[in-house]
């Protein structure tokens, strides 16, 4: 029985996958992809689906591959940079293929909102010879998920369902085929031994022509699918995919009879490019506008096709400056691009565009509101401790300290007044970068910060390398017992699986000990007088010659409260403002030049430990 629900794109994908009969789902959290696996976890028991948060995206993909080799239907979820981590197995897998079905949800992040790159998974699919579906709405995401499983099974090839932030994190009314997810049918005969599962140069050489043949078959199939559609009869063509196609449709609403002026080709199955459908569209138009976020992927596809078929069509897109190369698109930006193209080919018509009602000068200047470490966050205590330790070492030995950061909430330690992140590149990079810096800056101390989940994701090989090659670095592990930034998922260190059942908790100190680290300290940051012991451990580690590790154990203020709050004793406070200026804690505020502690205090007690007048104390109990 069909039902209409309000679903976020990621939830719609989860329901689509369950309906398609997915049996094994793996992934690593990453904005904007996380909620897809979280939703499947909610139905896992009831529907009989195996789910796991894997230690990283490569491991997640390989686990799903094992399931698909056995004839099962598998899904693996990640954000776009996660695909880089998983790219090694993926590139080989395209030659081997799969048996059951294997779908990758990869969420791109134009803008970017929460990512370190603006890479385009459509182009990645092209590079890896793996089909890519590009939905525009939660409804399409739901339907294309089911299509992805069908195609993967039929063509025995992994399929990428590529979303962007405005698909994954948009909500919409979605019509689903079954009102409540039902148990999935366990299919698959189990693993059958065959030489096809063992990659060798000879097998790759044999499979390469097959792989190229599949691309052609898929391109033919895609040309017939309703996800690629043509509307309008005008001589000005527009091609778009994903959410950009919706922006084009909305922009065109501002002119009457737009269907007589424009022909819109919406591409839902972006790779392999549906050449046949595109060709019949291109033959009916004189000029072509390309509206797409991220890479000029469609633009390159149509330019090739126009060249190959010798068509007299001029193309207006990113490559000749009509649309911005980067950033997230919207209706206004697409309107401006189309208008620019219209003016370039001498059309008098314009789509209507908006002008702000109030000039900016009339409005009060706005302070920047950047994301910040939460009040009571343990990372602030550790950053502040290293700042003090580095200051002391500078005084004693003149040595500077370079602080390498990593990916997670603690990247926010870069902000004023902490200023404690000098480098940040990708998951797990801080440890190895510190090693490299130590070779070229021998006079400076090297400290790398890494979160607990990131440590398990990709920090361990870097620790092994530091030991093997004798890098003189200090690794500070910020162990807040959760994957905080993406919404508090469990990880290998905390003794809970994705479903919340007990598992073996892997101790980070044990891991680095077995890697050969000789200086290991574990410090508890939860106690209200922990700053002193944090500074002491930091300094000892930095003074140690060779690789050293300090594991700072605490809790995430976002999920665990201390149960108390602090307040300022007005009679003792001199109004020096030291607490406010040193810590940048959002609970501390200067009101009429006197510090006050606001409601958001979660009772870590860091400010009480640094107050020169001992004017801060426990105010009471907070539930």
């Amino acid at each position: 029985m069909t039902d209409k629900k309000l679903l976020m794109g990621n939830e719609a994908i989860a329901l689509g996958a369950i309906e398609a009969g997915v049996q094994v789902v793996t992934g690593y959290p990453g904005t904007p992809s996380t909620e897809a696996l979280e939703t499947i976890i909610r139905y896992a028991d009831r529907c009989g689906i195996y789910t796991e948060w894997s230690s990283n995206e490569k491991v997640a993909l390989e686990t799903a591959v094992g399931a698909a080799y056995s004839g099962a239907k598998a899904l693996v979820t990640m954000k776009q940079v996660g695909l880089n981590v998983a790219s090694d197995p993926l590139m080989s897998l395209s030659y081997i293929g799969v048996k059951g079905a294997l779908v990758l949800l990869v969420a791109d992040d134009p803008g970017p909102h929460s990512s370190q790159t603006e890479q385009d998974t459509r182009a990645f699919g092209h590079f890896a010879n793996i089909p890519v579906l590009d939905p525009a709405t939660p409804q399409e995401a739901y339907e294309m998920t089911k299509l992805a499983f069908e195609l993967s099974h039929e063509f025995e090839i992994p399929v990428i369902l590529r979303t962007t932030t405005r698909v994954s994190h948009s909500c919409g009314d979605v019509e689903v085929a079954v009102a409540e997810p039902e148990p999935v049918e366990a299919v698959g005969e189990g693993f059958v031994k065959d030489r096809r599962w063992t990659i060798f140069p000879r097998l790759t050489a044999e499979r390469h022509p097959w792989l190229e043949g599949v691309q052609e078959q898929l391109s033919e199939r895609f040309s017939e699918l309703p996800f690629n559609s043509v509307s309008g009869t005008g001589k000005i063509g527009i091609i778009a995919s994903g959410v950009s196609a919706l922006y084009v449709k909305e922009a065109m609403e501002s002119v009457r009879y737009s269907e007589e002026l424009f022909t819109l080709f919406t591409v839902g199955t972006v790779y392999p490019f549906p050449e046949k459908a595109a060709l019949s569209f291109l033959k009916e138009i004189d000029r072509l506008i390309v509206a797409e976020e991220l890479d000029p992927y469609l633009e390159e596809q149509v330019l090739q096709l126009i060249g190959k078929a010798h068509l007299p069509v001029d193309v207006y897109g990113k490559k000749n400056g009509f649309f911005p190369v980067g950033g997230e698109y919207n209706v206004n930006l697409v309107t401006d691009g189309i208008n620019l193209a219209l003016s370039a080919f001498g059309e008098s018509l314009r789509l209507s565009s908006a002008v702000p009602a109030i000039s900016k000068e009339k409005l009060p200047p706005l302070p920047v509101r950047a994301p910040t470490l939460c009040a009571g966050c343990m990372h602030r205590t550790v950053f502040y401790a290293f700042k003090q330790a580095a200051k002391q070492l500078k005084k004693e030995t003149q040595a500077d300290t370079i602080f390498s950061g990593d990916i997670g909430c603690y990247t926010l330690g870069n902000a004023y007044p902490l200023n404690m992140v000098d480098t940040c590149l990708c998951m797990g990079a801080g440890v190895s970068i510190a090693g490299g810096l130590s070779r070229t800056n021998p006079q400076a101390k090297q400290v790398a910060f890494i979160g607990d989940s990131t440590f398990f994701h990709s920090g361990i090989p870097a620790v092994v390398n530091a030991v093997y090659n004798g890098a003189d670095i200090t690794l500070a592990v910020l162990d807040n017992r959760t994957t905080a930034m993406t919404g508090h998922q469990p990880h290998p260190g905390i003794g809970l699986t994705a479903l919340g059942s007990a598992s073996k908790a892997i101790e980070i100190a044990d891991v680095v000990r077995s890697c050969g680290i000789e200086f290991i300290k574990t410090v508890n940051t939860v106690e209200a007088d922990s700053l002193g012991s944090c500074v002491k451990a930091a300094k000892e580690a930095m003074n140690f010659k060779g690789p050293s590790v300090v594991v700072f154990k605490g809790r995430c203020a976002g999920i665990t409260k201390s149960g108390k709050y602090y307040e300022i004793k007005p009679e003792a406070c001199t109004g020096c403002g030291f607490c406010v200026k040193e810590l940048g804690c959002p609970a501390l505020n200067l009101d009429a030049d006197k510090p006050v502690i606001q409601d958001s205090c979660s009772g870590c007690g860091l400010c009480a430990q640094i107050c020169p007048s001992e004017a801060i104390g426990i105010g009471g109990v907070k539930l």
Binding site: S114, G172, P367, A370, L373, T486
Partner: protein, 199 residues
């Protein structure tokens, strides 16, 4: 204007990460589905939620994208005064702004780098071109039983403008807030609705 056109309503919810803008947006979204109206909503997740500026787009009766074009929003629900100003470009001329007057100070202000503008100045500037309904929603939530219900006060405040019945919205509140806070949230909704009806 046909019936579908009349039911089109673009709403922008602005605020600070942690104030509950996503729940407010989900309450309205779920109610729209129950009312049989198409809905599109864009939410801010991820890094910005750590105390950063957030904006949610809610488009009742919309079948295209979830992002409201500039000067497209009929109404802006600002959970924080400064965040009303930040996204003003999205509001149509003469549009309505319902604003919670309780500031949430960013670290750039608390650490003394810059001053927070006077709330009075913000409201005066906004009132020049828009219809402004301003009140302290944090206090109303506190009176209703919990400061955490501020987002639901604001949903109550906008409820009279939405093409969705009050009853449907209340059902949605009940379905989405934690079980033990239903009473507090229903009071919060009424307090917000009444505040705007009176003004």
């Amino acid at each position: 204007m046909n019936q579908a056109e009349q039911k089109k309503f673009d709403l922008l919810i602005t605020g600070v990460g942690g104030q509950g803008a996503i729940l407010a947006s989900d309450i309205i979204g779920k109610a729209a589905v129950v009312a049989g109206l198409p809905i599109r909503a864009a939410e801010t997740h991820g890094m910005a939620q750590r105390g950063g500026s957030v904006v949610n787009h809610i488009r009742v009766g919309e079948t295209y994208g979830s992002m409201i074009p500039k000067k497209g929003a009929d109404l802006m629900l600002a959970l924080e005064p400064m965040e009303a100003v930040r996204y003003l470009d999205f509001l149509k001329d003469g549009g309505v702004i319902i604003v919670n007057t309780q500031p949430v100070l960013p670290v750039t202000v608390t650490s003394g780098q810059v001053k927070y503008p006077e709330v009075r100045d913000i409201l005066d500037a906004l009132s020049e071109k828009y219809i402004v309904k301003a009140f302290n929603a944090d206090e109303l939530a506190f009176e209703a039983g919990s400061r955490l219900a501020m987002n639901v006060v604001m949903v109550g405040a906008v409820s009279g403008y939405l093409p969705i019945s009050k009853e449907t919205l209340l059902e949605s509140v009940k379905a989405l807030v934690p079980q033990k806070t239903i009473e507090v949230n229903l009071r919060a909704f009424e307090a917000g609705r009444q505040k705007v009806e009176e003004s």
